[in-house]
């Protein structure tokens, strides 16, 4: 917008920078807290810098309760959810956009309604379901529900991307003798891939963030636990080990941050694409 007058633009830019600082400050404070030495973090005059950065908190975190194992568990859960739900959602989105069949609209409405289901309310029946199938205390009890919960949104988001691939391309492929599955995986899949990336951000976050299921379904076998549980070891409401909490939080946040930065562009254009539709 070129017509904004200059003093206003400078004011706008100054406030944008200021707001960026405020928004980033909690993250800065988290990393700073992770590096502060033990005595400094519990000072009643907190300084926005540290004189003697130390790795003690990280050491403490990694020595406690097989933290590395929890990290790996979280990663396995999140990656499995992302890959499996992306594949299933791709097939389903293709079905509802490229075919006309009975109950198509009904299904679409059902996917929309499914997005609204409060996951948390289903913890009770899911608990009994996992128990009956012997899945309690396994990573499966975290993976399976998250696949189900990320699917409706993923299908709904991917619709726009699959729709955007011209019908003519499909017909040309068949004329050239391609089979349906060849078209699906060798032509459609690569074209829709950017959309899958944008979608996967949401399923990754929901699985990586999971706190409730880990708390409810992993009850006795702590070797199957995930990062949120490991973090809570350091957060005891009466006497939190702030250094440990901040170090664990930093380790837990960084993979997501990396993932976000990697897919940042696709995410923004993906959201644009999904909502324009």
């Amino acid at each position: 917008m070129t017509f904004v007058r200059r003093p206003w633009r400078l004011l706008a830019e100054a406030s944008a920078l200021l707001i960026a600082l405020v928004v980033a400050f909690p993250l800065y404070w988290m990393v700073l807290g992770a590096f502060k030495p033990a005595g400094e973090i519990e000072s009643s005059e907190p300084r926005p810098w540290t004189l003697a950065p130390s790795l003690d908190s990280f050491r403490r975190v990694f020595e406690q309760n097989e933290f590395g194992r929890y990290f790996l568990n979280s990663l396995v859960v999140a990656c499995t959810v992302v890959i499996v739900s992306a594949l299933i959602a791709f097939l389903a989105a293709t079905a509802v956009t490229r075919f006309r069949f009975r109950f198509r609209t009904t299904l679409l409405i059902m996917f929309l309604v499914a997005q609204m289901v409060p996951v948390e309310a289903l913890t009770i029946p899911l608990f009994f379901l996992m128990r009956d199938f012997g899945q309690l205390n396994t990573l499966g009890s975290l993976i399976l529900p998250h696949i189900a919960f990320s699917l409706p949104f993923a299908i709904w988001m991917l619709r726009g991307f699959v729709k955007a691939v011209p019908q003519a391309l499909e017909e040309a492929a068949y004329i050239d003798g391609a089979s349906r599955s060849r078209f699906l995986w060798q032509i459609l899949f690569p074209l829709v891939f950017p959309g899958l990336v944008a979608t996967s951000v949401f399923s990754f976050i929901s699985a990586w963030n999971d706190f409730l299921f880990a708390k409810s379904f992993i009850i006795s076998d702590t070797s199957q636990s995930t990062l949120p549980m490991a973090l809570l070891v350091f957060y005891q409401p009466d006497e939190p080990d702030w250094g440990g909490v901040m170090a664990a939080s930093t380790v837990m946040t960084i993979p997501v941050l990396v993932f976000f930065v990697l897919v940042q562009r696709r995410l923004v254009s993906g959201l644009g694409g999904a909502v324009k539709d």
């Binding site: 904004v4 206003w8 633009r9 706008a12 944008a16 707001i19 960026a20 928004v23 980033a24 909690p26 993250l27 404070w29 988290m30 000072s43 009643s44 097939l91 389903a92 079905a95 509802v96 075919f99 006309r100 198509r104 409405i109 929309l112 309604v113 609204m116 289901v117 409060p118 996951v119 948390e120 309310a121 289903l122 913890t123 009770i124 029946p125 899911l126 379901l129 189900a148 699917l151 976050i205 963030n209 706190f211 409730l212 409810s216 973090l231 957060y235 939190p240 702030w242 901040m246 939080s249 837990m252 946040t253 941050l257 976000f260 940042q264 923004v268 959201l271 644009g272 909502v275 324009k276």
Partner: protein, 305 residues
């Protein structure tokens, strides 16, 4: 209505391909049926039975209660308090998130690349932060003894989590912090898609910034605004981790409970699975009502499903 014409147009193809879409849909339907639809059915079922620790361990038979659990729930003053708190808290979160998100999206369009990138990256960082780490970090920021916020504001050792209102306010700040980026990025993407000629023409005609927003941008952005509003309602109504962690499971004497946490506490802390399920059903019905409103809005906009 387009459905019918399409069907006649494509009879030839439909005959050949009837099975293909169902084949593609099969995995999704199996997963959703088993892990979403069936649990919903179970949830409803449990809410009509007597189901506590005794029944779970098989010590006592389950007995049908009819609407007994609901009667017990609705007769409890705490339930109504929690319901009211949930609605007010979610509404406050939604309104603040939307206001901040939209304002910053507009701001993004007014600035050059460097400030825009800075704000974008900061927002992505907040967005990427897992709910649980966001919760602990904000608690640390507002810690009465070691947090910087009280120092800067000169509040001494004021405890934010002690009072009902201030604890809700603290959670609200964290929720807005981690959820405004979605609104900002989406609305920004939407504004960028509006042709700049339209905006320049309005400016040339002497329209004020506010007027441009109200009369030009807002109507064009309506579909996007509907999507982000509904998403925010859904997310904020279901806030669990933040409340649970930041207020220690629902605050002092349960003063900061919301429906989600309330249901969890009933079911898993006091083993009253049937009461927990009844609360779950109430939540489900409320969100279903929101969904129906959403569907009507989409339909009115002529969105083709």
């Amino acid at each position: 209505m387009t459905d019918r014409t399409d069907r006649t147009d494509r009879t030839n193809r439909t005959d050949r391909t009837t099975r293909a879409p169902w084949l593609y849909l099969a995995p999704a339907l199996v997963v959703l049926g088993g892990l979403l639809v069936y649990p919903i059915y179970q949830l409803g079922l449990i809410s009509f039975f007597q189901y506590t620790q005794a029944q779970v361990s098989g010590g006592e038979p389950t007995s049908f209660q009819g609407f007994g659990n609901y009667a017990e729930l609705f007769g409890d003053d705490q339930f109504w308090q929690v319901l009211l708190a949930t609605v007010v808290f979610a509404a406050a979160c939604v309104v603040s998130t939307l206001a901040v998100g939209c304002a910053l999206a507009v701001l993004l369009t007014r600035v050059r690349a460097v400030p825009r990138l800075a704000l974008m990256l900061a927002a992505l960082g907040a967005w990427a932060t897992p709910a649980i780490t966001g919760s602990t970090v904000w608690l640390f920021l507002f810690d009465p003894d070691f947090g910087p916020v009280n120092r800067v504001l000169g509040l001494g050792d004021h405890s934010w989590t002690y009072g009902r209102f201030s604890a809700f306010l603290l959670v609200l700040l964290e929720v807005v912090w981690c959820s405004f980026p979605f609104v900002m990025v989406t609305v920004y993407a939407g504004i960028r898609a509006v042709p700049s000629e339209v905006l320049e023409a309005a400016a040339l005609d002497g329209a004020s910034q506010w007027r441009i927003w109200r009369s030009v941008l807002a109507p064009m952005l309506r579909p996007i605004l509907v999507v982000v509003t509904i998403q925010s309602v859904i997310w904020d109504f279901k806030v669990f981790t933040q409340i649970y962690v930041m207020t220690g499971g629902g605050g002092i004497a349960g003063q900061n409970l919301v429906l989600n946490v309330y249901a969890y506490q009933k079911a898993f802390a006091s083993s009253q699975y049937s009461l927990g399920s009844a609360i779950g059903v109430v939540m489900l019905l409320i969100l279903l009502a929101v969904t129906l409103v959403y569907l009507r809005l989409l339909r009115r906009q002529g969105e083709e499903l």
